[in-house]
Each structure stands twice: as structure tokens, then as C-alpha cells.
């Protein structure tokens, strides 16, 4: 279970847009048809592979309900990536995007990669927001955009992995100081060269001594 990098994600958006379902589809490859209102935040994790590098995603799924806003805000800090989700069948969830972005800009670090997601693409017949509108919003605000379905799993992998790829590119470009944890990135042993040195997770990478703790 060694990893080269660990990325911290956060999933935000109005209640009922399918945030928890996206996470469940990504981690467990399941769909949950009943709305299980998230209380506060939930945690999920999965290992992915980018360019032969193992990357661990630590994902925080937040409650969309207004009353939990103050709790969920404390999870913005130290997130390297965010999935900002709306429901293509409910216009108001799209209209609220601006206020979610405002929140993110205020509480997250400015280099956080944000992926805009129009979810429930399987419900095309009830669509209330066109794909073009989504693309347009993303372009205006410098976000990446995808339409997904947590039900059919369409684009779900891509949503999480493309975000990771973006973050990975930023690291390559030296935008992040990876030793500073507030960027939501942690380096494992395998990060540097291509040599397959493994990390013993749980130990800070700097500690080379054998006696942990």
C-alpha cells in the first residue's frame, strides 16, 4: 500500500446533487438509489495510478445542506482538489455554483484544482441545464468540466483521475511546494525518481531511521 503521493480532495455542491453517490461509485463501484443525507462530512479513499505512479486519494464528501456549512468549511483547507457538483435536472443547483466558488476561494488554498461536475447525465430527458451552459461556466471561472452519472458510472473515474492528473501536472511545473502540507499533498517515497523505492506509510518520509516512533 505504498504511494508516491497522497492528494486530499473535497466534494462540494448543493444537497441531493449526488456527491455521496459519486464517491461511493468511485470507491466501491456501487450506486445507492436512496438519498442518505450526509451529516457533516464522510471520508473515502482509493489508490489510483498516473504515469505508473501510485497516488492515494483521500476524499472528503461534505454535506450540502446549508445547516452544515460551518462544519464543512473547515475541510476546505489543505485540499488539493475539489469536485464542485451540480445536478443537471435541477436548475437551482447550477445557479448556486457561484456561491460555492466564493466559499472555496475564501477558505481553500488558491492553487486548489476545481473540477466542475454536472451529475445525473443519465436523466437526459429531465435535463434543466445544457452541457454548453456547464462548459461556459467552467471556462469563465477556469475550471475543468465533465458531465457524469453516479448511477451508470459514466465519467466517474475520469472525474477523479483527471483532477489528479491536473494536480500532478502542477507539481511537475513546480507550482506546489510539496513539502508544505497545506496544499493537500503528501509525498511518499516513490515520488522522486522512477526507482521503485517503497514507502512505509504512516511514517513521515523524512524519517529514514528504522525505529519508528
Amino acid at each position: 500500500m505504498s504511494y508516491a503521493y497522497l492528494f486530499k480532495y473535497i466534494i462540494i455542491g448543493d444537497t441531493g446533487v449526488g456527491k455521496s453517490c459519486l464517491l461511493l461509485q468511485f470507491t466501491d463501484k456501487r450506486f445507492q438509489p436512496v438519498h442518505d443525507l450526509t451529516i457533516g462530512v464522510e471520508f473515502g479513499a482509493r489508490m489510483i495510478n498516473i504515469d505508473g505512479k501510485q497516488i492515494k486519494l483521500q476524499i472528503w464528501d461534505t454535506a450540502g445542506q446549508e445547516s452544515f456549512r460551518s462544519i464543512t468549511r473547515s475541510y476546505y483547507r489543505g485540499a488539493a482538489g475539489a469536485l464542485l457538483v451540480y445536478d443537471i435536472t435541477r436548475r437551482e443547483t447550477f445557479n448556486h455554483l457561484a456561491s460555492w466558488l466564493e466559499d472555496a476561494r475564501q477558505h481553500a488554498n488558491p492553487n486548489m484544482t476545481i473540477m466542475l461536475i454536472g451529475n445525473k447525465s443519465d436523466l437526459n430527458h429531465r435535463r434543466a441545464v445544457s452541457t454548453e451552459e456547464g462548459e461556459q461556466f467552467a471556462k469563465e471561472h477556469g475550471l475543468v468540466f465533465l458531465e457524469t452519472s453516479a448511477k451508470t458510472a459514466h465519467n466517474v473515474e475520469e472525474a477523479f483521475i483527471n483532477t489528479a492528473r491536473k494536480i500532478y501536472e502542477k507539481i511537475d511545473q513546480g507550482i506546489f511546494d510539496v513539502s508544505n502540507e497545506s496544499f493537500g499533498i503528501k509525498v511518499g517515497y516513490g515520488a522522486g525518481g522512477g526507482n521503485a523505492q517503497t514507502v512505509r506509510p504512516g511514517e513521515a518520509p523524512a524519517a529514514k531511521s528504522s525505529s519508528c516512533c
Binding site: M1, L6, G40, V41, E42, F43, A45, K56, Q58, W60, S70, I71, R73, S74, Y75, R77, G78, H107, E181, R200, P201, G202, E203, A204, A207, S211, C212, C213
Partner: protein, 966 residues
Amino acid sequence: MNFLGAVGRTARNALRTAEGSEDDKLVAQLLARVADKEQVEDRKEALTQLCETVSRSEQAQLALGSSGFLQLCAIVQYEQADTEMVQGSLEALVLSMARRPRTKGQNPAAINAELFARAHGNVQLVMGLLKAGQQMQNPHIRLHAVRLLAAIAGTGTPRLSEAILTSPQGVATLMDLLNDTEAIRNEALLLMTALATTSSEIQKNAASEGAFQRLFGIVRDEGGADGGIVVQDCMQLLNNLLQDHQGNQLLFREMGYLQSLPAFLKLQGTHAISKQTAANLSCGMLTLHWLIADKKVTSMDTNDLFVAPLLQAGCFEALQMLALPFGGGSPARLRAQALGCLADLVKMSTAAHEKLMSAKVVASRSGAQTMLLHAVLRAALYSDDKDEQHAALALLTAFCQKHAEGQEALAATLLPTTSNPQPGAPRTFGEELMLAWSGRSTTLQVVGRAASISTILLRSSAASKQRFLNLTFQNQVQPDQGSSQAPSVLLMQLCITWLAQTVNAQLAGVRAAPEAPFQLLHMLITWLLDCPPAAMLLASMQGAMSTLTTMARIRVQGKSDLLGEMIAVCLGQCMVATSSQAAPSGGSEMIDLLAEKVGIASYLELVSNLTQRCARSSAISAESPKKEDSSQQASVGEMFMASTGPEFQAAVGRICQQVQEVIIAAFQEPRPNLSVQDMDETGLRQQFTALERQLQQLQRRSHALLLEATSKANIPAAALADSSSQSQHARNHSSDTTQLPVSSKPQADAFRELMQQTAGISNSSRLLSQSIPCLMMLKPPQVGPAPRPDHHGMLSSMPDARVPQLEARAASMERRTAVAEAENSSLQQQLQSLQAQHLALQQRSVSEQTQLKDQLHRSEEKARQAQTSAQQSQTELQALSNAYSDLEAHAFSLEGQLKGTDRSQDRSVEEHIAAAVASMEQEAEETQNDLMVCIGEEQQKVERLSERLQHMGVDVDKLLCEVGDE
């Protein structure tokens, strides 16, 4: 109306003494001096004195809480330039929250913390001092700020965590303090430890802020388990983050920290463990416990997710070192904990079980190796530490319970001892256990423990039960005789001998091993369960039956208790086994023995008592599986029974049922040894047979009645025992009360009839036996059948043969009649107590009904009161809002007046007014909310009461109408 001061004021009034009111005044004076900005030096002096006074006097502490917080907070907020004043103010605040060793109910620290934290701005103000941007702040101020929060958190108020969660980056700010200076870091650890217990959101938030990494980082820097108290604090916080928090446990695992735990627990070297290290390790093992056992939610596959990686990281080996007295030199408490963790692992995982099966350890100073299981056995047999002994036993139980092959393998090490035993210490598990049973230096306590361990080996294993039958002890000192030439003894015999000894010891008032007889009986019953050969062996063992029946009687004469009951079950097992075997007379012989020595009625009572006891204790253990220590009054026996587990208790229930069946059957079938075939032509024979039939019938009926009566008696008794709650019980209750009088009336009649019949029979039986000598005088032809020529040789011998037979029969009949009489009278007694019980039941139900009605009335009344006070508070709210407008107007005029004075003061006045108004508003709102909740609760109560009343057949709607009319 001032809501804010209400709490403080009542508390103050309660404590007010002459000295107290002086301290009140003193605090007021000091606060006034602190407020006087003209006298710069005197302010500081006054603040110092204030701190002194508050730390000295509880009264001053309360006084500061109710009147000084606003002022002190204002200094912190607006006079930041004067670090001395800010620091002093914070110190005074910290002191006002300091906990005192208290004797009375009041807790000034909690009251003050509540007062402080409920004003939202206060916590934000203090948090502001700690924000990342304030790094340049005076470190003393930051330290005092953390201390203040820690003191508030220490009182357990939930308001602090609420306030922290709602302040942006609140938890993150506090977590950052773990990277601060050592002093601040240490305070922050304590603060987070306290906070984590009050809110699962804080637990989660702290974990998401990298708590695990930071904690293990500190632990590593401080030297791991050998580090100081900071390490303990870190592990304590870790525990509080993981306890009952599935999300955090998963995060802990996902982020790869499982491996860090075994590394932490691994003993470095073999030096003796210091107290601090022991405390650190103990915390670490507790963490382990949260991860592998005690899961409230079991949706996760604990084994795959947690146990397997832990084992892979060397968890088992680390624990094994901690569990043993040699090698690590860990203290008993730690060893017990390590054994407990091993048991957790073994229960969860086959891999751990295999490790335990094959693990070898250095277990003596000489460095010789033994099997780990052998070492655990030694702890279970000989440890002086109760916890360690229990934990070792629990580990052996875990080892045997889920894995039959492990149990088999252990039992296989038990071999009959040879006439020339190997010198030196026992080298196998079996040798060790055999030695405990019969060694020269063994004690009652050790024997009891050996019985417990044997029980584990016997449980549900036919092979073990068979193996134990053949275990013999040779050339060992017998408990009774000191001779070394004693013949070989069966384990079963040894058990009975020890049992007799332990019972005698108890009778003699020896307190040494109070559990031992129960442990021995537990073992015997387990052994005999589903193992007829064992029961047959015991039944046929010389003297065993009479020893057991005697002991059962010893207890019966006194107050019936568990010991007699368990012996009765053991005897019952023998009876069931013998009666179902080919030997036809076996069962009835035992019944005769019981009738003679204990009395059938008393015996059946013992058996049914135990059944009830089992039902009770399994109900208790289902309710609260881990509440052993709360039963302060429970006797050793009851505690023991609770520890035997539901499986055993169910088995006892089954045995009791079988026993009852066997007894009934025995009285229904005619006894073969009593029917004499060769006398069927005589009138005498007819007379006898008729009498015999009558007697048998009588006994059958009386036993049927007895069984019926006892089983009837059980239900109301149980209902009485737990009628304290639930409508379901209430239902049982009422149906019993209606049924019982109907069924017990005819019973009484039947008994009376029986008594008369018995008396009649016993009379005729006596007459009969008196007439036997006369019969003897009679000539053979007159008694017997007409002589037949071909039977000439028999003619003269027949009467002679018959008379002693007749005599014997008459005597036996007389005896049995006496028994029947005795039993009938005891039946009568039981019936009486049954009736008394029943009467009590009826009275209870009546009084309960009235009580319920009362309650209903009362809650109706309360609901009405609550409604009126809700209205009141609404008017109050109105008044408040009026007052608010007034205040606003007043504030305007004040503003005018204050023009030209110091700007900051001006602002603070405004702030004060706004704060006061806001808090008043909030208070009023809260009060109303409380009232609403109150009304809701009352309505719920009414609903629940109505439900119960309905079950009892009361027309609730009508009743409610009546109540409403009143």
C-alpha cells in the same frame, strides 16, 4: 429580566456565607479598580490581587464568573497593546475555570465555563489570539489562551466544541498548535483530548487535519513508548480520536498508520519497564482494542481491514512480549491488558489463532522455551493478579471456542499420569494442568481454576469428554489421605472429593476459594452434558451419589442457593442417563434415593430455581453484557452464573426439563419389582395391588399438580421481577392476574382431596401391616390358591415365602405413603405461597393502575402549566423587545453624552449594550424553545401512559376527557 446571571446567582445564593459575601465585595472592589484607567499601576496591582483572590476562594471564583467576564474580555479585546494587562486578564479567566476538589454539589468551574462559552464572541475572541496570523503574538498570551480553552474543555461543556466548530478553521487552528512551542503544544494536546470526547465532528475534523501524522511525529521525537508523559498524552488523544469512530478508524487504516501501532508496542530490550512506559504502552493497547474489538458498528470486515495488517506488522509478537512476566518484565496490569488484546485478535482471526497455537516463548530465567499456551495456562492457574488470571482464562476460552481443532490439540496433551512421573517442572500444557489437579502443593483455589480450564477444554467436545473419562492420577498425594501409595484415581473421583472439600471449607467458614465449588460443578455439568458414559460413571461411582445428595440437602435446609441447585442438576444428569440406559432399575433407584434424602418436591424446586435463575441471568447479560462490577450486592454464585454464558444456561434449562420428564414417567409406569406374579389368585394380592395402584395414582397426580404449580408460579414471579417497564410486560401481567385465581382454586380442592386420600391409604396400609402377623398364623390353603396335586413340592413352602415378601411390600408401601404424605404437605405450603404471591400480584396491578392514572393526571397538569408558561414567555419576549427599543434609545442618548471621550471606551460601551441585548434576546428565545420541548415531552408522556393504560383495559379517551373537564 436577566437570564444571563440566573445560573451564577442561584449558585451564589446557595453558597453564601459571611466570608463568602466578603469575597463577593472584594471581587467587586478589585474589578472596579481594574476598570479605573487613570491609575495605571493600581490596575495591574488590582488584577494580580484578583487572581490571588480567585485562586484562594471558591466564592470569589463564582463572583468573578457572574460579574467580571465582560470586563476581562474587553481588556483582552481592546487593550492588546498592553500585554501585561491582557495576560493578567487571561490568567484570571483561567483561574475562574479551575477545578477544585469539591465536596458539595456545586462546581464553580463548570458554571463559569458555561457562562463564558455561551456568549459566542468570547470563544471566538480567544481563538483569535491563536490564529496563524498571530504567530508574532507574545507566546505567553498564546499559552494562556490555550490554557483557558483547555480549562473550559475540561469541564465537559459541549458549548465549547460548538463554538469551535462554527468558527472558520477552528479545529485547524488548534491542530496547528501541535507544531507550536513545546509548552503550547502540550497544552493543546490536553485541550484536543478533552474536546474529542465531546463531539464526533471534532474527532473527524481533527483527523482530517492530519492529527495521526502529527501525533506519531511527536511520539517519535519524544522517544516512542519510552518517552515521557507527552507520549502518553499523544496516545490518549489518539484513543479519543479512534474510539467509537468508524470513519476515523478507516482513515487511520487508509493512511497507513496501522503499522505504527505494533512498532510502538514493541518492547525495546529486556530492561524493566518504567511506570511511564507502562502507561504509554497501556494507552497503545487501548488503541489496538478500539481498532479490533468493541465495534458498535460491524458493517466492516474487521479482520480483513484491521486484524490482518496488524498481524502482518508484528502485532502478535509485540503483545506476546508484553503478556509475559519474563523477558519484558511488564507489570501485571499491563500483562492482563496484553492477554486481553491477544484474545481480541484470536477471536477475530484464524491467523492469530494459528500463531497462538505454535508460538514459543522464553518463559523462565534460565532461558528455556515453552509453548506460549503453556505460559498462558500458568498465568490462568497461578497468577496473584485477578485481572491477569481472568485475562489468561479469557484467552484460553477464545482459543478453544471458535476453533475446535485448537481445543482438541490442547486436550490431547492431557495424559494419565504414570506411576513414576518425570522429575522437574511440567513440560506440557497437559502436565501442568494435571499437576494443578493433584499436585502436592495444590490449593482449593488452584483446583477451582483447573476446573475452569478443564471446562473450556470439555465444552461441546465429545472427544474431550471421552478423553477425560480415562484420566487417572497415580502416586499423587490425595486430598484426603497423605499416603503416597494411594491407588490410581479417576479424575471424576478427584472432582467429587475436591467438591466435598470445597463445600466443607465453605461450611466451615473458610473464605479462601469461594468460587471453587461452582467452578467444579460447572465443569461436572459441562462434562456430563450429552455424555451418558460420564453420567453413568458418576452415578455408579462408589459414594458419589450419597455425597452429592447429602450436599444438596445441606443447602436445602438452609436457604436454597446456587450450590444446591447445581448439585441437583448434576444429579439430574445422572438420573436421566441411568433411566434411559438398559439397566431398568437405575432411574428409579435414584428417584428413591432422592425421595429419601432430599424429597422429590424439594428436589424439583431446586431444579426449577436454577432454570429460573438461568433465564434471569441470560436476560441480564443480554441487557448489559459488561456490567459485572456494577452488581455490588451480587453473591459469588450469582457473579459466577453470569459468567457462564448463555450456552451453558440454555443447557441447564434443557437438563431441568429432562429431569422433570423422567420423574413424571417414573411415577406413571408400574414398578416391575413390585408386581409379584405368583400371587394373583388371592384376595390379599388384590388388596395390595389395589392399594398400590391407588398410591401410585395419588403420587402421579400430586407430582403432576406440583409440576403444574411450580411452572405456574414461575410466570408471575418472573413478571414481578421485571415488571418495571414496557407495555409488553404489562400485558403479560394483566393476563396472569385473570388466569391464576381460576386455576388455583381447583388446585386447592384437589390438594385437599389428595390429603384425605393419602390419610385413608396410609391408615389401610398400617392396618394391613398389622394384620401380617395374623396372616402368618393362617394355614396355607386358606391364604393361597387351592392346592394342586402336581405342585406338591411347593405346597408347604409357598406361604413361608410369601409372608416375608408381603411384609417387605407392606413396609415399602408404608414408607412410600409417608413420603407421599410429606410431599403433599409441602405441596400445600407451596400452594399457599402461590396464592399469596398471586394476591400480591393482584394488589400490585391495582395500585399500578391507580398510579398510572395519577401520573396521567399529573402530566396533563404539567402540560397545561407548560402551555401557560409558554404564553407567559411570549409576553415576556414582547416586553423584552420593547425594552430593547428603550435600550436603543438610551444607547443613542448615551452616545451623545459620551462624545469627546476616549474612542475605544465609546466603542466598548456600545459593544456592551449590544452584547447584553443580544444575549437577553437569545436567552428569551432559548427559554421559549425549552418550553416547547417541555410541552412536546409531556405530550409524549401522555401518549405513552395512554398506551399502557389501554393495555390494562382502561378507556383512555374517556379518562382524558374527564381529566380535561377537571
